[in-house]
């Protein structure tokens, strides 16, 4: 799905990301961990063509993202609040992003149905604009916005942050179900090692812009990751 080759991003003298090779096959649930400044958001921004690579390319479904915009048809992403439109109600927002992916209004309504639990009655039908929702509820809107339209590739930057404990558990369940039922490819970053090892079947650790660990999740992974970050002290 994603093929990265000799990708680097420099700001002046400082290299913030430097990846020789990274392939993410279709259907994988890919987890990205690393401390602040490790380059997680930079990597996602490069995959989404929001920043220009200094060297190298990102290919999404065989298409170079900085050259060709066709990747947008099968990719949905939620990185931060800049992916929300504050003056819309959640419903209007879903109709907007769904509509752009050629979904009819009724289809969007139906697609929202399974997420009722996840919203916990605090998002839909509230007669509130997104800007007036709490941070956690805004996040729910953003996440569902990416799942709704059934794009084969979903990118979520720190989806667990700002969510209450119950919703975090719900989100984990939701992501696992989506991944196994639909065969979607997920790219997820998180600071929560427990959650990310629960959800993802592959974990990549970034440190100072470089990939330092890359492995399939096993029963030992969580422990190993904890040890790894312990050593960073």
């Amino acid at each position: 799905m994603i093929d990265i080759n000799l990708l680097s991003k420099k700001y002046g003298e400082q290299t913030v990301l430097d990846i020789d090779l990274l392939n993410i096959p279709s259907g994988q649930t890919f987890g990205l961990v690393g401390n602040n400044g490790a380059g997680k958001t930079t990597l996602f921004s490069l995959i989404l063509d929001l920043i220009e690579p200094t060297t190298g390319v990102v290919k999404n479904n065989e298409v170079v993202v900085s050259k060709d915009e066709r990747w947008k048809t099968h990719t949905a992403a939620f990185v931060d609040e800049q992916f929300l439109i504050g003056y819309l109600t959640p419903e209007e927002y879903f109709y907007f992003v769904g509509g752009l992916r050629n979904m009819k209004k009724d289809a969007i309504k139906a697609a929202l149905e399974p997420y009722k639990d996840f919203f916990h009655g605090e998002v839909l039908g509230q007669k509130k604009y997104i800007r007036d929702l709490s941070k956690g509820n805004q996040k729910k809107v953003g996440i569902v916005g990416t799942l709704l339209s059934n794009t084969p590739l979903v990118i979520l930057d720190e989806p667990f942050a700002n969510l209450d404990p119950t919703t975090q558990i719900r989100l984990k369940k939701l992501l696992k179900e989506e991944a196994s039922a639909t065969g979607k490819t997920f790219l997820i970053s998180s600071h929560d090692l427990q959650h990310i090892t629960d959800v993802c079947d592959r974990i990549v650790v970034l440190n100072k812009g470089k990939i330092v660990r890359d492995e399939r999740t096993s029963s030992k992974t969580l422990e190993e990751l904890e040890t790894f970050f312990q050593e960073q002290l």
Binding site: E52, D80, F83
Partner: protein, 489 residues
């Protein structure tokens, strides 16, 4: 403590996106200042000698009489145009600054504004003329101080007024009412305001009254903001508006463009800042009235007026494409969004805005048919050429607009600023030039037809031009995204 605030202002200016363009703007703004200095001091001479020689009246009492209009008008204009000085108070609230000093700083900073200083350009030369013509020194000084105090009082009231749309309406009605009554000779307010504003001249002690007034208005807005300096007050954050149900089904006929059109209409309806663009457009309809006086009544000026009367919304809204969407630009850039659809939606908005202004401006027929021809020609030119031009210059305007924080106490409240006007200049001189060619070749009518023709030509080429603008937007994409990341600059 003030030093720390000034330090913050300084940093926010120099670390803002596009400092280089900002410096260029500063220079241009300098030119604009020089222009206003020239115009206002010229006005001082005209006010004095015109009134004295042409009307045979004593200039000082006459000017004093009409000052009441100037002041009410100032209040109205300030409401629309004056930006409150930017101090982003939210992060300061939890720091060891006293609330009082935060408010003091905000208010003090509002004194150093264009709208206060520009008055000096009139009153200082006017005062010197008075002195030279042997008016009493103490009288003139006391008159100066009084006028200055009243101007500052309106400045502080304006800070208050900004949060209340109703007060604006009252001021506008009072202004029009007074003017109407004077015009039809029912009631002459100047007969009352003249002795009021002349009193400090005759007896300097009277100057204490406006000084008190100024201090009171300062105290009033000071207290108002001190009370409102909480995160959840209306001045600090947007209200939880009750949602207006807007399905906007009638737009579905536009196909994919309708998604954007719906958003844009909601943008305008639900954000005060975007609504202001519509009000500016409406206000500009009447812009031509200023020029209907004889001394400006030349055809070239009419072309100028025609562009502005029909293009108010086009300029005030179009200048900030795509900045209106700065808050969620990354979303737009990752969605399945062809730039063309996105741009087309904005294009439709400004075109519809221009079209609507044409029948609304038909009252200019009462002045002359020629005026209305100029307006129609200007309208066509706006649709055909300027609609593209604003979208193009928008690609380079990288001021993020934070729709969510527009109601902050001392925040950047108004979307309309001098910069908007500056960027409009090249879009205005070209049609005047075209008109001039038409006049040289044949006649005034030919000039109007030529402007219209260029407009139609631009309209016919719109697909080509859109392709070109699209490319510029794409080239600018990364820079624009980076600039929009810096909020509140």
């Amino acid at each position: 403590m003030f030093k720390k605030f000034i330090y913050l202002q300084w940093k926010s200016f120099f670390r803002a996106a596009g400092v280089a363009t900002k410096l260029a703007q500063k220079i241009l703004i300098g030119v604009v200042w020089a222009y206003f200095a020239f115009v206002f001091s010229g006005l001082a001479f005209i006010a004095f000698f015109g009134i004295q020689d042409d009307f045979g009246l004593d200039p000082l009492p006459t000017v004093s009489g009409f000052l009441v209009y100037a002041f009410v008008l100032w209040v109205v204009i300030r409401y629309f145009i004056q930006k409150m000085p930017m101090v982003h108070v939210q992060p300061l609230l939890a720091l060891p600054f006293s609330k009082k000093s935060i408010v003091h700083f905000g208010l003090t900073k509002s004194v150093i504004s264009f709208f206060n200083i520009v008055n000096l350009f009139f009153f200082i030369p006017f005062g010197f003329i008075l002195l030279k013509e042997d008016y009493s020194l103490w009288g003139v000084i006391s008159w100066w101080v009084s006028i200055g105090s009243v101007i500052l009082a309106t400045n502080f009231l304006n800070v208050l007024l900004n949060s209340q749309d109703k007060l604006l309406l009252i001021a506008a009605v009072v202004l029009l009412g007074l003017f109407g009554m004077q015009y039809y000779e029912i009631f002459d307010i100047t007969a009352f305001s003249e002795p009021v504003f002349m009193a400090p001249y005759h007896q300097p002690l009277w100057a204490l009254v406006p000084i008190m007034l100024m201090l009171l208005s300062y105290r009033w807005s000071f207290r108002h903001f001190l009370k409102k300096l909480y995160m959840d007050s209306d001045e600090m954050r947007p209200k939880n508006e009750v949602q207006r149900a807007t399905e906007l089904k009638w737009l579905d006929g536009f196909g994919r463009t309708s998604f954007f059109l719906k958003n844009d209409i909601r943008l305008i309806v639900r954000n005060k800042r975007a609504r202001m663009a519509v009000w500016m457009g409406f206000a500009f309809l009447f812009y031509g009235l200023i020029f209907m006086m004889d001394m400006y009544d030349t055809p070239v000026v009419k072309v100028f007026v025609g562009i502005f009367v029909t293009g108010g919304f086009l300029f005030s809204f179009g200048q900030f494409v795509p900045s209106w969407d700065s808050g969620y630009y990354p979303l737009m850039m990752t969605q399945n969004v062809p730039y063309k659809e996105y741009l087309k939606s904005k294009w439709w908005l400004v075109v519809v805005g221009t079209l609507v202004s044409l029948p609304l401006a038909s009252f200019y027929i009462f002045f002359s048919w020629e005026s209305y021809f100029a307006i129609i020609a200007g309208g066509i030119y706006n649709i055909g050429v300027n609609a593209h031009m604003v979208l193009l210059s928008g690609a380079y305007t990288r001021t993020p607009i934070d729709l969510n924080s527009m109601q902050r106490a001392f925040g950047d409240k108004k979307s309309f600023n001098i910069k908007t006007v500056l960027l409009g200049i090249p879009k205005i001189f070209l049609p005047m030039f075209i008109f001039y060619i038409g006049v040289l070749v044949h006649s005034k009518l030919m000039g109007f037809i030529l402007i219209g023709f260029v407009g139609v030509l631009g309209f016919a080429l719109r697909n080509l031009v859109f392709g070109w603008i699209e490319k510029v937007y794409q080239e600018e994409k990364y820079d624009t995204l980076a600039a929009y990341k810096q909020k509140n600059t």
